[in-house]
Symmetry: C2
Subunit: 165 residues, 2 copies
DNA sequence: ATCAGGGCTGTTACGATATAACAACTAAGA
DNA sequence: TCTTAGTTGTTATATCGTAACAGCCCTGAT
């Protein structure tokens, strides 16, 4: 779960989902957060996809399963999961993606493939440091960062599709 | 016009606007772009503000001046100016800001002050390089970047207001 | 001088994303 | 058992953005 850009590599999504849900339950117990069906299901949906999904796209799934039918349902679940560190919002896409290394606050950077629409979250210490320096050097107190790189992922570059790995 | 984070420092906004417009006219002549009243006025409005403005906020101004009253008017002007490199979109805010060093394509990074809502564009070579390396090292072909740092600007930190410098 | 075509404008209509507000319910602790 | 904080369901609406099309105007070719 900690390789570079795992989302772009072939792997078992069911395992991702399971790991993620275990982690969510553990965190919830530890911090006294309440898990509800909609919250759990939204994280499941996102962690199987490895791509950013729009709120209304997620809502359609919930609706089909009888877990809610109005926008606030999904936005509330997303707020909860974002606050708990299990979901990130991708500003560039107005969409949401499951976090690859949940558990703590961390500066995230995303690689967004314009070919297959997958989104990979990367951790890069050098990047975090450079960014912190850029802000601090200008007397700016950094609070939250949005780092999103749009481009073409290895699979799509290679022509090996990348469709729904 | 090339200092760090000029938007956060006291300075004469009329000069900003004038410099910007001169540059726009020069570029337009050179590249055969057509300047229209709405396009010029949108850049004027943005370059006096030094903050991100929503499209509908700009539209209200245009409307008051008889330069157009429907959303497509302002979105078309913004598309033009963005394409020409004179305006950037701030994804985090769904808003637009005048470019501080127009003329060429460049990786931009923005400091967004949560206090006074001003937005400063910075150039940082180290940041550009680190980012390029982060992408390249993962086999990802970078095309466009979104770098936005939310926090508190020097003026707002100091308590010296920062309201409408 | 005229006319063809590309680019721009004005407008209607609509789609997509997100939130405010409030009443009703539920679970956990006093 | 009662209280209360948190959650849900729902209606309504705000905010942001675009498709589509008719008409205008400049420019360059004839």
């Amino acid at each position: 779960m900690n390789e570079s850009a795992i989302a772009f590599a072939e792997h078992d999504h069911r395992l991702c989902r399971q790991t993620m849900l275990d982690e969510l339950r553990r965190t919830a117990r530890k911090r006294g957060l309440r898990l509800t069906p909609a919250r759990v299901r939204v994280l499941e949906i996102l962690s199987e996809a490895h791509r950013a999904m729009g709120a209304y796209e997620i809502l359609d799934r919930l609706r089909a399963e009888g877990l809610g039918s109005q926008p606030p349902v999904v936005y509330r679940a997303l707020d909860f999961l974002t606050g708990a560190g299990f979901v990130h919002r991708i500003e560039r896409l107005n969409a949401y993606v499951a976090c690859c290394h949940p558990g703590g606050a961390h500066g995230a950077c995303f690689l967004i493939c314009a070919g297959c629409r997958k989104v990979a979250e990367i951790e890069d210490g050098a990047l975090d440091i450079t960014l912190a320096q850029a802000a601090a050097g200008r007397g700016f107190a950094m609070r939250r960062t949005v780092l999103e790189i749009e481009g073409i992922c290895p699979a799509c570059r290679g022509g090996t599709a990348g469709g729904d790995a």
